[in-house]
Symmetry: C2
Subunit: 344 residues, 2 copies
Amino acid sequence: MTIEPRRRTPQPVTLADIAREAGTSQSTASRALSGRGYVAADVRERLLAAADRLGYVPDASAQTLKQKTSRVVGVVVSDLDNPFYGGLAAGVEQTLREADYRMMLVGDNSESAEETTAVRTFLAMRTPGVILTPVGSDATSLLHRRGIPVVEVDRQIATVPCDAVVIDNVRGARVAVEHLLALGHRRIALLVVDTDWTSDVGRLAGYHDAHAVAGVPVDESLVLRIPFHDAAAESRIADLLDRGRPTAIFAANNLLAEQAWRVLRARGLTLPTDISLVGFDDVQWTEMVSPGITTVAQPTIELGRRAAALLIRRIGDPAAPTALELLQPDLVVRGSTGPAPAAS
Amino acid sequence: MTIEPRRRTPQPVTLADIAREAGTSQSTASRALSGRGYVAADVRERLLAAADRLGYVPDASAQTLKQKTSRVVGVVVSDLDNPFYGGLAAGVEQTLREADYRMMLVGDNSESAEETTAVRTFLAMRTPGVILTPVGSDATSLLHRRGIPVVEVDRQIATVPCDAVVIDNVRGARVAVEHLLALGHRRIALLVVDTDWTSDVGRLAGYHDAHAVAGVPVDESLVLRIPFHDAAAESRIADLLDRGRPTAIFAANNLLAEQAWRVLRARGLTLPTDISLVGFDDVQWTEMVSPGITTVAQPTIELGRRAAALLIRRIGDPAAPTALELLQPDLVVRGSTGPAPAAS
DNA sequence: CACGACTGTGGTGACGTTGCCACACGGCTG
DNA sequence: CAGCCGTGTGGCAACGTCACCACAGTCGTG
């Protein structure tokens, strides 16, 4: 009794199969299908036909092994479920795909260790380049040491030279706060994530800048630095309302803006008569709620597109000077901001 | 004059380097680092130390080539920028990462051709499995023929046996429409995408079911089938309002719900007194607008998690019976639905 | 007509990893 | 003490592709 071979997975067609089918050598088959080197027209025809007939798909790992580089770009974002990062990834993916690259997407949870793990995987895959919303500088250094180009998006952390695409956080925050100051607000609370990322540092700086230019002193008790994933964020915001008596709030990212908005709603406060609110990053809900939220809009998808384009350029020309693209945010004024109530 | 070698990119460390460093053979180094086969404890120590010292990273392409399979799962979604697909991808990625798989993410734009292109890439990469929100059946068939497991998420299209994770669309739509019927609505408009996907077909069926059970005849002129990416969607919805005089709208996905909501807002109609609105898929804004939108909530991230888990199981046991996971959606009642106005 | 340039083809050896095989040793059992 | 099993090790071939090389014609030109 013989055992049924049970060829569950038919093994893939290789160049050797094509060559045999068309009666040529492997070398010729390789040249015909890759388009590099001399092949007689009729022979090429025959090989292409054979490849098509057998359903040939070149083995990417063999190519990568041989060429010591792949067409798969590594991308790390903090949290795919956040629409900001989703849009970013969408932009990256589109541009990569147009240039015949693929995207390997990994989420760290804003944790440096996971970022480094992801990067190690990219190293193993002989990735031609990496795009990341950086959490720490180790990951980028590691890649740099191995000669793999990196593009940082949204924030800059690298301690080694590398390309970056960020928005002008200082200016974005300054414009937002100037808008509030112009409306007569003097007690403007700032909600900002407690990191040393350039995005948050920049927004904090913009807040101070605007005050300085206007000659309005900053009451530091109105600046609330909130750690990542702080479960108590909303209660801390509520506290600030009681303690600081701000007439306006500038929330320096979309999550903080949402939390602030919820606190205000829970308190039954009316925008903008009781208090004004400005957010950062124009996600969908800011326009749909009533009144709409005045916010600093970032070109999210474009951020991703630029990052991918920059990486592709860098892969093509490793010696090009380090580039920093500074995209300009845009203050979108809606109903959530209004004149400061007269001091009582 | 000799030419400077210019070693821009230091070539990666290989097993051979480690072996030389530790004074063993490659085979032993391989066994020590992969953990398969016999290695004396002290030798292993020495090899691990050497690997660590030299910064050894195993070459994934060489491994894939040798083992004829990789740890990179292919994932295709329609549109990463849509938070529904973003959440889905987030769930998939989390679960894959926990099981030491990676995610290769590609967007088709709901176009069958791009889906097939993506799948061909996966084939080339010797992907151990693929997860997709299917657009056509060709892609899945292609994979099936090559013996690569596929999990369909959100919709079922495959003409070959394959695992799937979907929500109970029929029931979701039925519950939504029953809710409206119970409130006294008799002219309920349905906005649905004009596809033959199970998701949309199911929601359409649920709409009819609910009517049938309640003994309410369906006015087919109230059923608006809108093609994908239809730029005129909003004006068609507005038309329907004029022509059909519905007292309630059931929008069968998050995009249509948003468009309907915009049309209603532009008209100055008040929810729920002028008209009621039910959506499908609980995205962020539905809860934040005022009044909140009654909607059929899907466990988006969970959908992704289950799909990944199912795929991992299938990779481990190719002979397991085909599985279909049917997740239950949940009607979240908010302020956008109210009693039908008395007939005038 | 000799020589080189151009076209076309096949052989061969890497790329880095893994797994099979052969071998070698010590301790155990029959 | 012969045989065998359990350890431990190194040699070697193979995965599929590509690039280099050798070679073989066919031109055209000096």
